[in-house]
Symmetry: D3
Amino acid sequence: MEKNRFSPVTATVLPRFAGIATFMRLPYVTPQDPLHAEVDIGLVGIPWDGGTTNRAGARHGPRHVRDASTMTRNVNRASGINPFALCNCADLGDTPVNPVDLMATLALITDFYTTLHDAGIAPLSVGGDHLVSLPVLRALAKNGPIGMVHFDAHTDTWDRYFGDSLYTHGTPFRRAIEENLLDPKRIVQIGIRGAQYNDSENDWGERQGIRVIDIDEFHALGVPGVLAEARRVVGDLPTYVSFDVDALDPVYAPGTGTPEIGGLTTYEAQQLVRGLCGLNLVGGDLVEVSPPFDQTGNTAFVGATLLYEILCVLAQSIAKRKRDATRALVSA
Amino acid sequence: MEKNRFSPVTATVLPRFAGIATFMRLPYVTPQDPLHAEVDIGLVGIPWDGGTTNRAGARHGPRHVRDASTMTRNVNRASGINPFALCNCADLGDTPVNPVDLMATLALITDFYTTLHDAGIAPLSVGGDHLVSLPVLRALAKNGPIGMVHFDAHTDTWDRYFGDSLYTHGTPFRRAIEENLLDPKRIVQIGIRGAQYNDSENDWGERQGIRVIDIDEFHALGVPGVLAEARRVVGDLPTYVSFDVDALDPVYAPGTGTPEIGGLTTYEAQQLVRGLCGLNLVGGDLVEVSPPFDQTGNTAFVGATLLYEILCVLAQSIAKRKRDATRALVSA
Amino acid sequence: MEKNRFSPVTATVLPRFAGIATFMRLPYVTPQDPLHAEVDIGLVGIPWDGGTTNRAGARHGPRHVRDASTMTRNVNRASGINPFALCNCADLGDTPVNPVDLMATLALITDFYTTLHDAGIAPLSVGGDHLVSLPVLRALAKNGPIGMVHFDAHTDTWDRYFGDSLYTHGTPFRRAIEENLLDPKRIVQIGIRGAQYNDSENDWGERQGIRVIDIDEFHALGVPGVLAEARRVVGDLPTYVSFDVDALDPVYAPGTGTPEIGGLTTYEAQQLVRGLCGLNLVGGDLVEVSPPFDQTGNTAFVGATLLYEILCVLAQSIAKRKRDATRALVSA
Amino acid sequence: MEKNRFSPVTATVLPRFAGIATFMRLPYVTPQDPLHAEVDIGLVGIPWDGGTTNRAGARHGPRHVRDASTMTRNVNRASGINPFALCNCADLGDTPVNPVDLMATLALITDFYTTLHDAGIAPLSVGGDHLVSLPVLRALAKNGPIGMVHFDAHTDTWDRYFGDSLYTHGTPFRRAIEENLLDPKRIVQIGIRGAQYNDSENDWGERQGIRVIDIDEFHALGVPGVLAEARRVVGDLPTYVSFDVDALDPVYAPGTGTPEIGGLTTYEAQQLVRGLCGLNLVGGDLVEVSPPFDQTGNTAFVGATLLYEILCVLAQSIAKRKRDATRALVSA
Amino acid sequence: MEKNRFSPVTATVLPRFAGIATFMRLPYVTPQDPLHAEVDIGLVGIPWDGGTTNRAGARHGPRHVRDASTMTRNVNRASGINPFALCNCADLGDTPVNPVDLMATLALITDFYTTLHDAGIAPLSVGGDHLVSLPVLRALAKNGPIGMVHFDAHTDTWDRYFGDSLYTHGTPFRRAIEENLLDPKRIVQIGIRGAQYNDSENDWGERQGIRVIDIDEFHALGVPGVLAEARRVVGDLPTYVSFDVDALDPVYAPGTGTPEIGGLTTYEAQQLVRGLCGLNLVGGDLVEVSPPFDQTGNTAFVGATLLYEILCVLAQSIAKRKRDATRALVSA
Amino acid sequence: MEKNRFSPVTATVLPRFAGIATFMRLPYVTPQDPLHAEVDIGLVGIPWDGGTTNRAGARHGPRHVRDASTMTRNVNRASGINPFALCNCADLGDTPVNPVDLMATLALITDFYTTLHDAGIAPLSVGGDHLVSLPVLRALAKNGPIGMVHFDAHTDTWDRYFGDSLYTHGTPFRRAIEENLLDPKRIVQIGIRGAQYNDSENDWGERQGIRVIDIDEFHALGVPGVLAEARRVVGDLPTYVSFDVDALDPVYAPGTGTPEIGGLTTYEAQQLVRGLCGLNLVGGDLVEVSPPFDQTGNTAFVGATLLYEILCVLAQSIAKRKRDATRALVSA
């Protein structure tokens, strides 16, 4: 097999613990690099947790996920997908951030993603806390609202914290809906659970039309039922995938800011992500890996593996769009 | 909503990591406090592990569960119960203990709980090793034996250790039955597993009439079947809930003295505890959280969340009794 | 009960944390010891990880599994088997190894096991990385190929690494088949998963006739279905059991060199091993416990418990063969 | 000895691991409590790390220092001081904070300390990152600049970070000098070390007149020489003590945001703090304990012990002022 | 070199991580073993912490020190002593203990050591908490009081805890003096520090004539001065060495029950122990290694190395007595 | 200040936790990169521990040191040296290695360094175990033996292990002397300590003329005396610096394969390395950082800081040689 310039370093040649750690051992491509123009999917770190209301640490997420992701191999045994054969994937580095200025950082992130979006690069991001999804969506959905498959223990559609703080990791999707970045009727939230601050906490989101599949309904429907419902909700239009690692049970992902017991297993999560294959995916993120609370490193490892699973379905979707576009061009 | 004096501090006002750690951020109420007379449910720590035959450390359980319990919110999403709205709940501090005198400590604990019992306060305790259930039951069941729903990997009805030691964390319920504090025919034990010292180990308990649902039968019956059987066994009479965290698989609760692989998941445990709603509950405990063996803190966190689940069903039961009593008074 | 000289130290007499740590608190029997001739099953450590291509550390496995195994009791609650009553079991210590010389170590291990084999002792080993199974099989199968029930996330039938390295923990069973130590048609591999280096990775093994039950098929068949298939594959002929702890999900066994998410639970593993009861077992191993990556010690504890489960079915098989031989002798 | 209401719980009566964790087992006194008016020294937590430019986590400092401080006893063996006999000391709880709003939090902290200052309570605080010293000084020095003995690896007089961010944990004392809260000629900084961003980094502070004793000069002068110089610099006027745990070598205090190797030992730190006895002290803080980076808990323990050492010299100073004031009153 | 039967396994032959862990890789010799009669120095574990008033865990000390002690080599570079060449050393296993019965355990330990004492074996023990020194001394000093060099942060001559508890790890040497096992005028205590419960805490011991060298005096005298004073105090009569690892600063020995900052370095401890060479030593112990609080394992490793240092000076003393006795016999 | 292309990323612009981790945030320069020809000092990782006789793990050293080294700033406060202003420094990535083939790896490493040497790049390496110094020296000293300042707890001049194994991390400098890569009379070894296998262990090295300054002599001479002696030994000829982190006391560097208590402090190590300024340095290495044994990450952090200290003196030496060469050229 002829290796292209976007191939990961292979572990049967150089051991996985060797070399500078980039996402999945992909080449690190800066905007100045001539390769940048050829990138289809950009893996990006957003090292920032300024929206965290409780335990911080997700600012260290990208580096630890990079390290763990060097364990990744190429071909998805279950689906047969080799994302690196389908698309040109690269590590685009981290966005600039300011750990002591929330509003400035939101702007810096949106700027970074606007550049990618304008270059036709589909982003797959690693947070950071969940607030980082908001500035990404501001770049990605600037031409109109998109749908979202959202894995999480929490709906993240709370209104405000500590009086009048509008921007926190508990509020990104309320803001995104208010800003018309997400179409609430095309949002499905999977894995929701845990106690609530008050009786009416989730009413707002469901009133907007969000389809909430809480953990009890998840078990009642089973993975196939949940997937059918998710596909029905988001349909064929452009869709974003946002995976908060606290969707998983804390034994799989202890290194996170707001764990809730009774969550998904990694096997269930793998089945769910694989089941998104064929959707019209435009990007995704994996957030809330918090290394200071991840003593065993398993959260970063789990995060890296699920990032690979998201990459597989995203690459399949991007490759299909490229193929379709080529055909359209040819037949035109 | 009008806040009463027994409301937990709210995380949307003060972050969860802030403030002195009491159980679920409830007020700390000493016997000298005028609020003491109004308490319905008292959360109490029993920082003692003098009955531990193997790995000690549960003496540190109450403090770590307090710390972890500041993550708790108010309303149980699954059941809709808000225990803090149903009952006056308070942190009553820790019982006095003597770490180098087993018999003295048993007496100190019973004294503490007798005072609560006489004041009409239902206790919800955090151990400590499982031997602490015995002195609690001596106070709680002094007017006659009660029933028990017991979650555990072990039956804790062993006779004696190391020759003639009668009081260990492997023997509390044998002693409680012998002392007529528990009615063995109204005891159900769920999650029992692990290898045994000899062939006849569990015969004594079952001969007394204890209903043992070991882990294989648990999987055979399923959660609804187990709950039906548990409710049949304990019936409508006063019932205690005792939850040893080693009922859970060690991945959920590594920080415990005598782990056994192949145990319950936290989701199963949540389903089981929620299924006790409507029973005639008079108190409960959560024991064997051993922080020195809980490097990630997850055991304390799991323990705190299950404590909240037990509180929900206990508060529902206490509130119902208060309502019934009021009605009886009114109609009299 | 009369204690024989091969009985484990009992925890109700001496606490489990006391005493020098041998496997399951069994007597340590050197070849010079007169007891050696009476041993039926020898528990052996192979403290070596020189075949590890990624994260080393399994060289420390035997000592940590010994420590954790002092938590073991005697009677298997699920099956009723007391292996120590069925067979004379002993800790035979560790094989000699050379941590800086791969080929020399393979020879040292084979020599050690040849001595055991010639003495009629069935080996139950603790690795060490998975390459150690190869020199064990060279001793055990020197008279012809045997079958194998193999629990693992990986097939370990890869050809070579880093150019021309033939002997690694990813290649033992390819070598064993090439050397006619294993009959590929009598091999079943359970729990296989994870991404692959390339599309054709597993073809070789399946072409030889290995029955691969990957994790998706495992869930599709269920434990009884998997067991039926495994028993069909290996039949009544001599069979080896090889358990790589990475067959388990990393939350159960984080301390291992090549974790893969989405694996077996310990309860499933217990069911699977217990289901091997009645097969014609000639030995087994438990490998890839890597203490430096096992911060909580749970991997060693899980490994020790599964070692006990394998011992139960192995003892049952050995005892049956001894009984049959005695009967044959008597009736002759 | 007659116990007053401000006595710590005694460990020979109740074990140190028992009871709700307050600073040094002192009573928790809220502003509503009648005892509040009698407090001389208030121990306060500031659970906030919003000024951290690198590794966050100091928001968890107060709770962990509280926990560790329950190991404290009463009488300083070296100096003979019993601070609890000299002054009424109490745990006043944590200040309100907003983890997602830097400027709002600075105001909340200053408000809290203004109330204490107006009530004549000397504050001894536990951070939080070092930026928290600024809002404390805004309350404490509102009537004019004070002096400071400052233990740290860094001068914390940097101008700005990330472009125009003025308020970070690297800038508090530049801001405090600019705001006329500290008299730079009465500041001594001890333990400064580590590489610098550029050649001119520390020029500003020294130009203002700060006396910087870096780690090499510390070793050259020895503890007595350093103490003589520190006492000369701050003189008899009101002086604040600020102790950043990163003044210590990271082996003593790994749990901190910006460690620098080659620092003070705890014994040296104890000698230094004890040597401040007799100065005109008006308050102090201990900052930058970051529990997520403190796996062994030793940083919190070291912090708690040094907090006790600062309390001893502060109590001695406060008691003397009270005595002097009483005498003045009597003789008037 | 001809190896005798008491030689440690050599690391250049078998790696240190291999093999069953005995103290310093010495042979494990049971009382039944014919070798037992030839043992000069017996290394013994006392796995018990029932006298601990605060953080338990030292019951696990012997096993972890055994594990760490496999790193030991033979010849002391500084002193040239090879203890294994001077004396027959062996691991005699652990004493029986009862973790739930304090008084019974004291008796079990004394019985065990009486047997050794009667067999002429000098004991070198590993605790366990410091209370274990008392039952050892009851066996060792049954013919009259002996002297002691005592390294510790605490004097351990407190009278009682929790009311009337006479036997705790804070009281062994008060009891030993009262029971005439130790001659207080021949006791020197080195490293004492930390805050005290009250002003008169240490008066009792010093009134009996104990020579207390607290940490400040240690630094004032320097190692040679301290050693001169220690040798003066204990003189030529039989002397015991008791080393509590909390004499060391907690960075060297975090895994202990009652750490105190500002302690000895390991280098100072090595100098001190080596300086005891030539004293008339009759036994020793190393206590308070508490593995559950020793996340990095360094405390066990430090403990094992200091155990080796004590063994060197003890072996030198025993060998000299044997030589003297032989000469006396020969010349008689 | 004009930034050149070899400047580290600045923390006041991008936080230290952000971005892909290269050594000291320097640019990653591959051999294909046009910048490669301009590199003066190349930082190289050697991720290999195949020569480890005891606890492996140093293969992970380069990646963890890279991560920790992002905490580095530019200007050495003590010496005023800014290495990045003096020389063009770059991260050249890791050497190829084969974790299962010792001899092949030695050759791969020598090839890599020969290329650097031929390109006039001075190497500063991060191990890996200490055996990696040998193949580096084979490239560096191919034109004749050089001198060495060697910091270590061990002399690493042992002959062979496990029978006939010549190449281990205990033997590199014996081999290097035998191969005429090092001039033994120009070697100084600092910090040597720990017990020895036998009486004659170190004789060989000293017989060749190595100047061994063991830890007791280190304390006797003091840092200035040791430095004077070291400078005398190596003189003005080309000299290599090899720093094994086990030269440090294990509290500073627990994450290493063969710790020995009683070692150097980091402050002493900093003084020693700074004192090499002005020597004729040609390269250096920092080895034996073993992340699996470095739970707190402090060893990697200490290693990274000492790497920076070595870089400072190396850069000063290289810059001087360049200056001298330029002058010679100009004046020619």
